[in-house]
């Protein structure tokens, strides 16, 4: 156990500890921080791990008691994280906890468990870093906040670019992307440097849990004056002892950033950037006494997207959605919505992933995606940082997407512009209906509407399966090689503008000119498929259809 101080050596205590000690050395306010180093455990040493957890929790709670600290936040500090190029942003979430021994023990156990998560494994592999050695946990008092946020400080000539996001209470909702917060970006000119975002939900450490319950009105402070505002307590996270408070609209829409805060952050952080010649990514909290604390400080792991001066959320055209730039780059591909339990439709890799607030379990799909669209707000949110690190275009603030951004729809993503454009392509063989004039008599065909890949289905030799898809998929499949694969699996692909989902079976069949047989079984006897159409599709791929 080591308490961080100005003169110690924190280099063996991981990236976060190193960052905080640097802050201390530059005279910045850092809350008292206890570093608890995790020993190396061999496989199967569960008893030793439990013993360590008890000892560590005892030490942390005793340390907290000695300083009259009742509420803590525990952060990971690995030798492999928060270094240049590898932030592990969002993969080691900070864990808040009451400062009692049992609660601390539970928190440490959870964080330890998180070290073996699949998401972390995937990220580590992708970044080519080892995460097996050198983990330290940092315990800090949770700062009673007026406001909190994140800041990027990037050297530019003899000056620095300063980007700051801010919300009421703790920054938890901001980094999770649950609130937009206010943003200051010095790279933007004049009044557009400052934008006010919604801050309707604020999070506070809860030390008076026995006196309140969700649904009650509570008093919160948003200024240094003694005046409180009335707000509604909507949720209590009892494990972390956090209160989620709905801020009244007047204060939610009021500016939480002040010129004093911006000036203070610039004044405090510029010497660090200039002296160390490193760009900074900082999480800060302004306490109820007015002092600004640095609670995390790390090197910037990827460059910010250039500023976008267009109005966020505006729709220039019906087929263009403008969100907030998250990570630069362009990519065209099919939309794939992220869903819990991996229930999103099976699609080719390199899709445009649409997701909500970033969660660790999203990472495998973020890695596989060609671009990311997120409802997360703020260029400093976890998903944006990850996307930039992974060099994937990213559009943020997409919480209310237009209906055409649905699974399978082709879109072009311009991360720097924050734009999503609907791509409409037409297959050269137009008027497919007119070609449906001959039949493949006697061929039994399975009708699989609205499916792309069939490898999750049991194959039966000799069967021909029909997958009905929109035109746009043809290019996607050809480019990815999936079409070849599907054909080799004896699947005939028919491209048509109608799908069952949109128009209904009857309409589909009528338009395709099918004559339906018995509907009593899943297999559908379909007569009426155009032999020319099948032949044309196969010919285009150098294959021959043998009826």
């Amino acid at each position: 156990m080591t308490e961080l101080n100005t003169f110690g050596d924190a280099s063996h205590l991981g990236g976060k500890a190193k960052g905080l000690q640097t802050a201390l050395q530059f005279g910045l306010a850092v809350p008292p921080t206890l570093a608890v180093k995790l020993p190396e455990f061999a496989e199967g040493q569960s008893e030793a791990i439990e013993d360590w957890l008890k000892d560590a929790a005892h030490s942390v709670s005793a340390w907290a008691a000695s300083k009259q600290i009742r509420h803590l936040v525990i952060r990971s500090s690995g030798n492999f994280e928060d270094s240049d190029g590898t932030s592990f942003a969002g993969l080691f979430p900070s864990r808040f906890t009451p400062a009692t021994k049992l609660a601390v023990q539970t928190a440490l156990r959870e964080m330890l468990h998180g070290l073996s998560s699949e998401s972390l494994e995937v990220y580590s592999k992708a970044k080519g870093v080892s995460r097996k050695h050198g983990m330290t946990f940092l315990a800090q008092p949770t700062i009673p906040p007026l406001r909190a946020g994140v800041a990027f400080v990037v050297a530019r000539g003899n000056d620095v670019d300063l980007t700051v996001q801010c919300t009421w209470g703790l920054a938890l909702n901001l980094v999770k992307g649950l609130v937009t917060g206010d943003t200051y970006d010095s790279r933007r000119a004049g009044h557009s440097a400052l934008t006010i975002g919604a801050k309707s939900l604020a999070v506070y450490p809860l030390t008076c849990a026995d006196n309140v319950m969700p649904g009650n009105q509570v008093a919160v402070r948003i200024t240094q004056s003694d005046t409180s505002i009335r707000a509604k307590l909507v949720f209590i996270d009892e494990v972390q002892a956090l209160a989620y408070v709905r801020i009244p609209s007047a204060e939610s829409e009021a500016l939480s950033l002040s010129s004093e805060i911006l000036t203070s952050l610039r004044k405090q952080l510029t010497p660090v950037v200039e002296t160390l010649e490193v760009n900074l990514d900082v999480e800060w909290v302004q306490a109820i006494d007015g002092l600004i604390y640095m609670v995390q400080m790390r090197p910037v792991t990827a460059q910010l997207a250039p500023p976008n001066n267009s109005h966020v959320g505006s729709k220039v055209r019906a087929d263009v959605f403008t969100g907030e730039p998250g990570a630069p780059g362009k990519f065209t591909g099919p939309i794939k919505h992220w869903r819990v339990n991996g229930l999103s439709p099976s699609m080719a890799d390199e899709a445009v992933l649409v997701c909500g607030g970033a969660k660790p379990e999203m990472l495998p799909e973020i890695l596989e995606s060609g671009a990311v669209i997120s409802s997360d707000a703020g260029i400093l949110s976890h998903v944006a940082i990850l996307a930039r690190e992974l060099e994937k275009p990213c559009v943020l603030g997409a919480s209310a997407l237009p209906s055409w951004i649905k699974d399978g729809a082709m879109v072009a993503v311009d991360g720097a512009a924050g734009k999503i454009v609907k791509v409409t392509k037409t297959y050269s063989a137009t008027s497919l209906d007119a070609r449906l004039d001959r039949t493949l008599q006697g061929v039994r065909i399975e009708l699989w509407p609205d499916r792309l890949l069939s490898h999750d289905r049991e194959e039966e030799p000799g069967r021909v399966m029909v997958v009905l898809l929109t035109h746009e998929w043809l290019d996607v499949l050809q480019e990815s090689g999936s079409l070849q694969m599907e054909l080799e699996r004896r699947i005939v692909l028919i491209f048509h503008q109608y799908t069952v989902r949109e128009e209904g079976v009857e309409l589909l069949l009528r338009n395709l000119g099918f004559i339906t047989g018995s509907w009593g079984r899943w297999s559908v006897a379909v007569m009426g498929i155009s032999i020319e159409l099948a032949a044309e599709l196969l010919d285009s791929l150098g294959l021959r259809y043998d009826a």
Binding site: M213, A231, A243
Partner: protein, 284 residues
């Protein structure tokens, strides 16, 4: 908004309806409490009223009612019972509202009995608003998925079935002959919704492969989906009608509730400054 806190489920309509009046919030919370009685035939109220718009229900009672509803909601007899009960409330309440409207238009005050009758009907009808969130969606999706193949297709199928026969109350406008201007503008004609629903039901039936059990499930689901959607539309319509009458009788009912500060209530400070709780801030 339903929040689980300790052994309670807190149902908070103030969050769902931030601009609602105190009276409206009270209608929702009393409707919620009447749900076991009106819809399930139980003889107890659901939860404890903390204030208009906020009800605390024990987790045990909450889950018990949800379980009972889930076990019945896809049986034809229960769907039929719900439908009849709802119709028996909507019809008389519509007439009561019309009668009250006429009385008020004539410059007269309605008889207390007349008002009491309408109030009772409104409160009981409001019990049906709970249908929107007590449906066992995950269980339905799991079964649908087995029929239509994927979770996405199952959700699509379910959503396609939750459509009322009548047009949405949001399309209501001031138009003659019972058909709204907005509905006409939206291109809805006659029983358009019913036709669409029939098509959707048919398309999902076709995917059942003729399995009798699946067909029975889908048939009941189609009826349930229509009922819950219909409930939302019909109840909203009559709720709006009732609110117009109620606010004419007592304009003070229009005062917004949410955000109103009870001057007699002293809120607890979320960052208390007593007891040296942030003493560490003063450390070097």
């Amino acid at each position: 908004l339903q929040v689980r806190w300790r052994d309670l489920v807190i149902v908070d309509y103030e969050v769902d309806f931030p601009t609602a009046t105190s009276y409206e919030l009270g209608l929702y919370s009393s409707g919620l409490q009447l749900f076991p009685q009106v819809v399930l035939g139980k003889n107890f109220a659901w939860g404890r009223l903390r204030r208009a718009g906020v009800v605390d229900i024990s987790v045990f009672d909450y889950e018990e009612i949800l379980d009972i509803f889930a076990s019945r909601c896809l049986t034809s007899g229960f769907i039929s019972h719900m439908s009849t009960t709802m119709d028996d409330l909507i019809g008389p309440l519509g007439k009561a509202c019309d009668a009250l409207g006429e009385t008020l238009a004539a410059g007269n005050l309605p008889q207390p009995k007349m008002l009491q009758n309408a109030t009772d009907l409104v409160e009981r009808l409001m019990a049906f608003h709970v249908l929107n969130w007590v449906l066992p969606i995950e269980e339905i999706l799991t079964r649908l998925r087995r029929i239509v193949g994927t979770h996405a297709a199952a959700r699509e199928a379910l959503l396609s079935l939750i459509v009322p026969f009548t047009s949405s109350h949001l399309l209501d406008g001031v138009g003659p002959n019972g058909q709204s201007d907005n509905a006409r503008r939206a291109g809805l004609r006659g029983n358009g919704n019913a036709q669409r629903l029939a098509h959707r039901t048919l398309s999902i039936w076709l995917q059942s492969r003729g399995d009798p059990s699946d067909l029975a499930f889908l048939t009941n689901l189609a009826h349930l989906g229509r009922l819950v959607a219909e409930e939302e539309e019909q109840r909203r319509r009559i709720q709006n009608k009732w609110m117009t009458i109620a606010s004419t009788l007592a304009p003070e009912l229009l005062h917004p509730k949410n955000g109103d500060l009870d001057v007699n209530y002293t809120p607890v400070a979320i960052l208390p400054e007593n007891d040296n709780i942030w003493e560490w801030l003063n450390h070097d």
